[in-house]
Symmetry: D2
Subunit: 354 residues, 4 copies
């Protein structure tokens, strides 16, 4: 028996990706599609401008799209939301009264009773959900995933945090245009033959989310990790796949071989045998200095593997510092499929009832 | 009376840029064009595949191209070289026996008796040239300009070094494809919809050159500045203009307003009234967080101005740290026109005889 | 004494280009800037998101922007409009009651009493303006320029039409993204690593406008040329400059040398000595088969020259057929500066009073 | 029992694609890899710079690369060649003395006893191979596939040729950079923000090959079809997938519905059930005027389907004319996988012994 899922924001790019990620899922069955008032009442294929590389799953073509603000939760076991922050702010608490809500929006990420989950990184913070339910008196709950730029960075940092401790991180991102969506997204006149040096609110999100995700759940709240993060976020003419350079000061001495080993063994217990959407290898470390590249590495293991390369010692940021680059697929692990992976983990932990 | 100049490597991209920079120059007149053995004996327009945005100056079309290894220096007062490092290694000392050689190549950058000059930054290091001439017993000398990625960074750092002292720099570059030239340069299959995370030897050059250029000439040698530099150099799908993000720890406390003021007044005494190729403003600081961008800012003041933006405090790299982004035109200030500017400065200082 | 001009739609891209084209114009002085209701009441630099390569002319920075629908024409001798078709439909007749209106919009292009002017091509059709004024009882009039894709094509065709007669034209365009403006324009997700095979209404405009522009003014109306035009219009990842391939069946036999000569001498009497915005050479014919290219040729003579290349015989379209490619700057000759050139010509002809 | 195949030119891009196409092939097993003298003696993974989207098949990593000019054909049943024309000229006849040679090179395409095969289009021309063997006294033979730009065009034309007859074709291509390979291929400096109007020899190939492929095998030779083809071939900033616009004059009247139906039913008998590499649908006709696009449609059915769109009547080229656009994957159907499909067809026809 699969859990019955509603996808809210189903006509947007992230919503389309949810449908791709869920189309043949062994644990979830999409039974409701919700969109804006404008889409409501149409068949899905009439309401959507399909924009994802994979073809539109035929099973959803003729499904009706309902108004997300009028979504009935009868017969719905779980809701995946892919809406803008303002809409999320209003809709998600309503849904959470009755069912679990896994969200790609930032609206509730920074509430003290809301964890930002990536199973291999901080799956244990899922127990904060009980606190949330108790405090809010809801049957369901809200669990957002991180910002897509946080995701790759914090996955690469997590094994270092555990094995060696983190002191400081200086990061520069070169982000793909798909991260900005289509309304209006990044226009070609701004990005062809160019770099855009600023993405509003992005740096603050990354700096805050890394600390929270790597934090410790003590009693009923998460104590953020002490790591200091300095981010500069830019946009480049890449379609999908965020590229980041990171310089990291560790608390304890670690050879490059030890760093690499910690990365390569990271997340081994969360794999496709237990979590259908999990990557076989959470982090791949490249030897070739010309890798990873967004175009050639973003799709590693269905876009779920984080690719690290150019691992080097750093003499500048701290006594025990390393630097590296990474590629993470912003619309796969960094969005819908990453959210589905969270649902899989919560199901396995019994926080979502199977 | 203008000085008579030879341009060696005149058919390559940097050589073409020399011809553009020198075509109507008030102080220099190009009288000889030299290229490889293969180009020798041809008219310039037959030997060259013109690839610079500006049109080929008509006055050079019918000039003969001679073999750089057989260049006669009779009637030549100064040589500008734009050849690969290996060729530079061999040719430049020969020319330097008789005349000043201003070079874009890295071959002699790291010799103890060779300064790497940017007039507003370290024009005083020009006096090392006398040491070089004495030591090598030459009438002329060799003066290289920095690597094009060093140029923008060190110009932005110089006012901070002078006013507040530098401790640490963490830099990520997103470099234009023109920096790789055309033989074969960056192929489209590698860079469209992509980022390349590595440029061979580039990071080492930047780290070493910044320290030397900001160093102090004490007695007969340059003592490198103590600043520690950590660079990650990447290539993006931009035609011209290197973009860099920099996080900088200062020795002494400085407000953002003070940092900005130091940048804005930097280099004021080296301007078009004294140096025809100098920018009116060496560093422009943008308020708009979406600027500078390579495409929209690289050509500021004929590609000679360094554009800084997103100036912010940084809490991570040091007690007194700032961060910013910059755009520098890699084939104007960072190459031929930057070299011509050095010649103008040496002429003014009397190191090149007028 | 310069004519006093108002620019309507001054904050859009085409409006910005009008300001660049008019900033130091010997015959026109911009005295009013009009925009949408939203822009009205602001200073120009506050109302505009400046997006043109050239810097914003300082003289317009602090000018007030008025609401185009409330524009007073007191003290205005001529209006240049750069607004969407719907707005043009409403505003232009109002302005035309009192003053000449030179428009980039398509709203009135296909009216029988409205010529679509390019001075070197069909300047004589300007006499239709008298018919328009008489018929409409207006002091002013409306004269639109062609669609930017028509412009380059019809300039290249005009000398062939005159010298050899035209029978058929098969054309494929590869158009720049700037042609779509910014609201929202072409988004990067759609055009990077891609071609878009369709531009709504574009082909119909080109097919219709070529016939009208090359038509004959007989009595009080234009009889369209009999040439049959078949266009396929596409969008490519180019910032500025429309590229077109054209196969053309001529009525009369013509050697390639004759075709070339006809192109090269075309428009010689309309040049900067008589029309400040006119190109010195209306059509340049390249020998190098790798030219023209949008990026390297769009800016020829301030973007006013049409660059033709790959001139070849064609055996397929007709008995006397040729084929070629062309590049035309869609936002210079194809928009604002092309409109200013029309005003210059009408002034010279006395249709606009000097 | 699979046929034992050698791949010659295995380290180039087309060679890599052969390995991808053949890695799990039910009928062919790659037993030899050949390259240039420089690659000979190395393991495959040492000799190759892997540049294809799909990962390098593990089974070939450790295979030895032999010198193509010294390739032993003992134990080889078929040779796939992916070398430059000059090398093909020399090597292919040697191989063909003993075994079938399926080639991507143009060296022998225009010989009278050599068919250029696309199974659904002109599979019957395969009987020319017997003529070739008799004439040349060889056990094997040479069969090239068409130029990658011909392939999509001739597939789209074939159903029209059969059902309605062809008179004239005017075609403009916008070709992907992968078609130029990597030695040096198209450099980024030439194609970013640009269109290149010329590809050497391409137009002649397309014009000639279409006529031959659509020709009739009469007696012992192919009589080219009478269709007249006029091609203009250009390069755009697209990684993979050639886009073409075609205007086609038919001999007999045909409604758009009839044209569409002819395209859609084309090739139905050559499908994956009989030919593992064949597309399920040879030609897909899109209704959405914004499709096909290279990036979104090139990979249709493993890159083997030709995508047609914008099917319209044309009034210009002839009495019964239509126009359309198409996308064809130049390195899948247009290269290696297209060649493998030819081998499958020849095997089925008994021309290659199973």
């Amino acid at each position: 028996m699969k859990l019955r899922a509603a996808v809210v924001g189903a006509t947007g790019i992230a919503g389309q990706q949810f449908l791709v990620a869920l189309q043949d899922h062994p644990l979830f069955e999409v039974v409701q599609l919700a969109g804006s008032e404008r889409s409501a009442g149409k068949r899905y294929h009439q309401a959507v401008g399909w924009n994802v590389a994979e073809p539109m799953p035929t099973k959803f073509r003729e499904m009706d799209v309902v108004d997300g603000s009028k979504l009935s939760l009868d017969g719905v076991d779980i809701v995946f939301t892919a809406v803008e922050s303002d809409a999320a702010k209003e809709l998600e608490p309503r849904y959470a009264e009755r069912v679990p809500v896994i969200s790609t929006a930032s609206a509730y990420r920074y509430e003290t009773d809301v964890p930002i989950l990536i199973p291999a990184v901080n799956g244990d913070q899922a127990s904060l959900i009980k606190v949330q339910q108790k405090k809010r008196g809801t049957k369901g709950f809200i669990t957002p995933i991180p910002n897509c730029t946080t995701t790759g960075l914090v996955i690469a940092l997590a094994p270092l945090a555990r094995s060696f401790g983190l002191e400081k991180v200086v990061m520069t991102s070169m982000q793909a245009v798909s991260g900005a969506g289509r309304s209006p997204g990044v226009i070609a006149l701004d990005i062809v033959d160019n770099v855009i040096p600023y993405i509003a609110k992005e740096e603050e999100k990354v700096e805050r989310e890394v600390k929270k995700i790597l934090g410790a759940l003590i009693g009923e709240e998460i104590v953020p990790d002490a790591v200091q993060v300095s981010a500069t976020c830019t946009r480049v003419a890449v379609l999908d796949g965020h590229f980041e350079t990171a310089t990291v000061a560790l608390k304890h001495k670690a050879s490059l071989a030890e760093v690499r080993a910690a990365m390569e063994r990271f997340g081994a217990d969360i794999n496709p045998s237990t979590h259908p959407s999990a990557p076989r290898q959470w982090i791949t470390v490249h030897d070739d200095p010309y890798r990873p590249q967004p175009r050639r590495d973003r799709d590693a293991d269905r876009g779920m593997t984080t690719s690290v390369g150019r691992l080097r010692e750093d003499k500048v940021l701290g006594e025990h510092a390393v630097k590296f680059v990474l590629v993470s697929h912003n619309t796969k692990m960094g969005a819908a499929m990453g959210a589905v992976l969270v649902a899989e983990d919560l199901l396995r932990r019994g926080i979502i009832a199977g």
